[in-house]
Symmetry: C2
Subunit: 237 residues, 2 copies
DNA sequence: CGCAAACTTGATGTTGCTCAAGCTAGGTGG
DNA sequence: CCACCTAGCTTGAGCAACATCAAGTTTGCG
C-alpha cells in the first residue's frame, strides 16, 4: 500500500528527482534514495515523534505543514519551526530527538530509515554535501529567529512572521494562508495568544493587512509591513 | 610568517589531526586539509567579517573566544553565539555572510579559503559528513537558544547561560570564567545590561554563585542553579 | 594617581502577560 | 436545515517583569 502510494506520488511529480532531498543530485543517486523511501500520512495534531525518542529516521515533507517544538518542565512551549513541502527534518538528532514534531494539518511525508540513509552517505556522491546545504540553511533560519525572539517587539515579530509565510508560499500576490492556530503563532514568536490576536487587529486597523478569515491574511501594504518587521515604524501604531 | 605560526601551533598540538575540523578523519585527510590552512590572530574587539560581506572562507577557532551577532537597522544587537576553541564557523553562508564576527578577547584561528575547502569535499572522504555533524550540532544549540529566548525569564536565562559556559569549559569543578562583558551576555540572552547585572546579584545573594570578580563566577549550589535554569524555582528569589 | 570603561544599584515607565468575559465559526445531532 | 455546542479567536482591565533613565562604584590601564 505504501509502495503504491510512493509510485503514484513519484508518477504525478514527474520523476524521482522531484523529491527535495534529491535536488541537485544525479538520476542514479535519486533512484538509490528512492529505494529506501517510505511514504506516510498524518492527521492534524498527530505526533510524529517526541523529545527524547530514539532518532531512527530522516523525513521529508511532501504536502501539509509540521510544527517542531520544545517544552519546559512546566509546560511552556517554544515552536522552533514550521516545515512545509520540500523541507527535511531529523538530520540533527544523533541518536536522541531534541524536539517534538506534530502535524498542523493533513500531512504527507516520506520516511528514510536511518540505517539505510547513512549507508547512502558513502555511496551516493554529493548526498552529504546536499544535506550540509540543507542544515546550513536551517541554521541561518534559526539565527534569524534568534534575532526576532531576543530583540524584536510584538508588532515586529508578527510582521516578520507574515513576511516569512509569504516567502514560503511564493504563490500569487497578496494572499497568505495561515494554517496554524494563534496559539502556535504565539509559541513560535515568544508571545501569548492574546498579544498575537491584538497585534493582528492593530495591523488590520492600520490598513496593513486584511483578515477575511482568521486563517487567511491579505497583505494590503507590503512596504509598511516590511517597515514594521524591521522596526522602522513607530511602536505606537 | 603565517606559515611559521602554523608549524609551531601544529607542533605544540601533537599533530595535524588535533585540529577540530579533522576530528574523526584519517591522517591522510588531515594532511590534505592542513595544506590549505592559514593561521591568523585577532585582538579583542577586532572584526573578522560583517553581515553582507562576501563569504570566502571557513574558520576554526584555536584559542580565545568569538562573538557572532546580527543587528537591526536601529542598532539593536542579538548575539547568536559565542565560539571557543575547536568550534567552526563560516559553513552556513552561501556567498554572503548573514552575521558578523568579532573577537571577545585575544583569538588565534585558522582560515580555510573557500575554493580550496570545497574542492576537498569531493576528494577527502568523510569531510562533508564531518561538517554535517558540525552543522547539526550548531543547529541543536540554536534551537535550545530559541527556547531560552522565547520562553525563559531573566533568572532562567542567566542560570542557563552559566551552565552552558560551564559545559564548554569542562575544566575543574566550580570555577567558571566569563570572558565576555555584561553587555555581550545581555545581547545573547535578549535582556539589558542592567537586568543581567541585577540577576547576577540575585544569584549571589541567594548563595547560588559567588563573584570573586565580574569575569569569574564560582558555582556554589549547582543543583539550585539547574533548578533556576529549568524554571523549577519560584520567580521571587 | 587619575581617567575611562564597565559594572552595579536605584527610581520610574512601558510592554506584554494574566485573568476574565464575549464573540465567531465550524461541526454535530435533533 | 437549524440550533446548539465547543474550540478558537478577540477584546478589556489590571498587573508584573523587564526596560529605561540616572547616579554611583569598581576596575584596570596609562
Amino acid at each position: 500500500m505504501y509502495a503504491v502510494a510512493a509510485i503514484s506520488i513519484a508518477a504525478t511529480k514527474v520523476d524521482t528527482t522531484a523529491f527535495a532531498i534529491c535536488r541537485g543530485l544525479s538520476r542514479n543517486a535519486a533512484s538509490r534514495i528512492a529505494a529506501i523511501r517510505m511514504p506516510q500520512k498524518m492527521k492534524p495534531g498527530e505526533n510524529l515523534f517526541s523529545e527524547n525518542d530514539e532518532a531512527d529516521s530522516v523525513y521529508e515533507v511532501v504536502t501539509g505543514m509540521l510544527r517542531l517544538y520544545k517544552l519546559l518542565p512546566d509546560g511552556r512551549r517554544q515552536i522552533i519551526g514550521f516545515l512545509g513541502p520540500g523541507q527535511i527534518l531529523g538530520l540533527a538528532s544523533k541518536g536522541i530527538r531534541t524536539y517534538a514534531v506534530e502535524a498542523v494539518n493533513d500531512v504527507t511525508l516520506c520516511r528514510y530509515p536511518r540505517t539505510g540513509f547513512f549507508r547512502l552517505f558513502d555511496e551516493v556522491p554529493g548526498l552529504a554535501r546536499r544535506l550540509l546545504a540543507v542544515a546550513s540553511n536551517e541554521l541561518r533560519a534559526a539565527q534569524d529567529q534568534m534575532l526576532l525572539l531576543g530583540r524584536k517587539g510584538s508588532a515586529e515579530k508578527v510582521a516578520s512572521f507574515l513576511l516569512l509565510l509569504m516567502a514560503d508560499q511564493q504563490s500569487a500576490g497578496d494572499e497568505v494562508s495561515v494554517p496554524m492556530s494563534r496559539g502556535d503563532i504565539a509559541d513560535y514568536l515568544g508571545l501569548t495568544v492574546e498579544t498575537v490576536s491584538r497585534t493582528f487587529t492593530k495591523l488590520k486597523i492600520g490598513g496593513v493587512i486584511a483578515l477575511p478569515t482568521a486563517n487567511h491574511v491579505e497583505i494590503r501594504d507590503r512596504e509598511q509591513l516590511e517597515d514594521f518587521a524591521n522596526g522602522q515604524c513607530e511602536p505606537e501604531l
